[in-house]
């Protein structure tokens, strides 16, 4: 790192010293290192956009809140509905974006492809190039989804990776890997487990966890 880079956080701290409030600054850099180039750029970009009146800090905050508090629960609701409503399931498979829109879910992407697990086929999603993920349906991708380990291995040894997630598939089941490498986004419709016949959508949504919708595991009924 060069010595003459802008010390953004120092500048902010200085400004605070003269403000009418007092608080402990966030300390994301526990290792004592400087913020990364990307953090500084991202911060500077947000401030510029705010100054130009294009976005507000409140909008950014709201967006982060949605990603953490709302989006992660949408996928479970959508797939639970597909489990109980065969017509909706068909529409979800035919045109995922339109089916989600029926439920008031705006995916904010061009297209969603739903793929269904059957007794013969197990689907699993990866983005080998980066971390493409149906964020408006599942929230932010988990760390493992973005890891080089998962991204590089699941395409050539999916069964070994699945096993590490506790998912062992018999040889007669075809493993169908989807590399989410361009403009589509994907969600898995798992098989509905036995013992859920009289469950309502809300109960079903609870076993449709994030990982089941990415395909690294399958929904299970606690016994």
């Amino acid at each position: 790192m060069s010595d003459n880079r802008i010390d953004y956080y120092a500048a902010k701290k200085h400004a605070h010293d003269h403000g009418d409030h007092d608080h402990t600054p966030l300390d994301e850099h526990d290792d004592g290192g400087a913020p990364s180039e990307y953090e500084i750029m991202s911060r500077a970009m947000q401030e510029l956009l705010e100054e130009k009146g294009i976005i507000t800090a409140e909008q950014v905050r709201r967006r982060m809140e949605q990603f953490e508090e709302e989006f992660p629960y949408r996928g479970s609701r959508v797939v639970a509905k597909a489990w109980v409503d065969p017509q909706f399931r068909k529409r979800l498979l035919d045109d995922g974006k339109a089916a989600c829109a029926e439920m008031g879910v705006d995916l904010e992407v061009d297209r969603l492809i739903a793929v269904e697990n059957t007794p013969e086929v197990h689907n699993i999603i990866v983005c080998t190039l980066c971390s493409c993920y149906p964020r408006a349906l599942l929230g932010m991708p988990p760390t493992w989804y973005k890891s080089r380990n998962y991204r590089s291995r699941v395409v050539f040894e999916p069964r070994a990776v699945l096993k590490e997630f506790g998912t062992e598939l018999p040889e007669h089941v075809t493993v169908r890997v989807h590399d989410s490498n361009a403009d589509m986004r994907y969600v898995v419709i798992p098989m509905r487990p036995e013992g859920t016949t009289d469950w309502n959508e809300e109960q079903l949504a609870e076993i449709l966890t994030r990982d089941t919708l990415v395909g690294v595991t399958v929904p299970r009924v606690k016994t």
Binding site: V115, E171, T174, R176, V177, D179, A182, D183, M184
Partner: protein
């Protein structure tokens, strides 16, 4: 229905809401991914270049991400396909059943017609 028994099944339909006028390939067509290594932002993973598969579906026409990445408008739009490959054709030492598959999105300008039927089933499960 298994993939192995699906040869005579009806073909999937192209998307109705992301039209791809003048698309060069149809569902089930055997294709080969071009083995090229141009610099720049490319959405075609290295590991699939030079590999053969079949068109699984036509996704529609989208603004070209290879242009968008550099601030251009991405026009004219490019037709995007999903291509299905047999794992054993992608990884010669693949350790798993011969019927395991991998699918991904490939833009038309990265595809060429393959000499013949690659033996990759194109029917989707369900």
């Amino acid at each position: 229905m298994t993939f192995a028994s699906s040869k005579s099944a009806p073909r999937a339909q192209p998307s109705t809401y992301a039209p791809a006028p003048g698309h060069r390939f149809n569902v089930g067509d055997p294709v080969v991914v071009l083995r090229r290594f141009p610099p720049g932002h490319r959405r075609t993973p290295y590991y699939i270049r030079g590999k053969s598969g079949t068109i699984e579906r036509i996704c529609g026409a989208f603004r070209n991400p290879e242009e968008l990445a550099y601030g251009f408008d991405g026009e004219p739009r490019k037709v995007l396909y999903r291509v299905r490959f047999l794992q054993k054709d992608v990884w010669p030492d693949y350790r798993g059943p011969a019927k395991d598959i991998i699918e991904m999105e490939i833009y038309e300008h990265w595809l060429a017609p393959a000499p013949g039927d690659m033996g990759v089933p194109h029917q989707n499960p369900g």
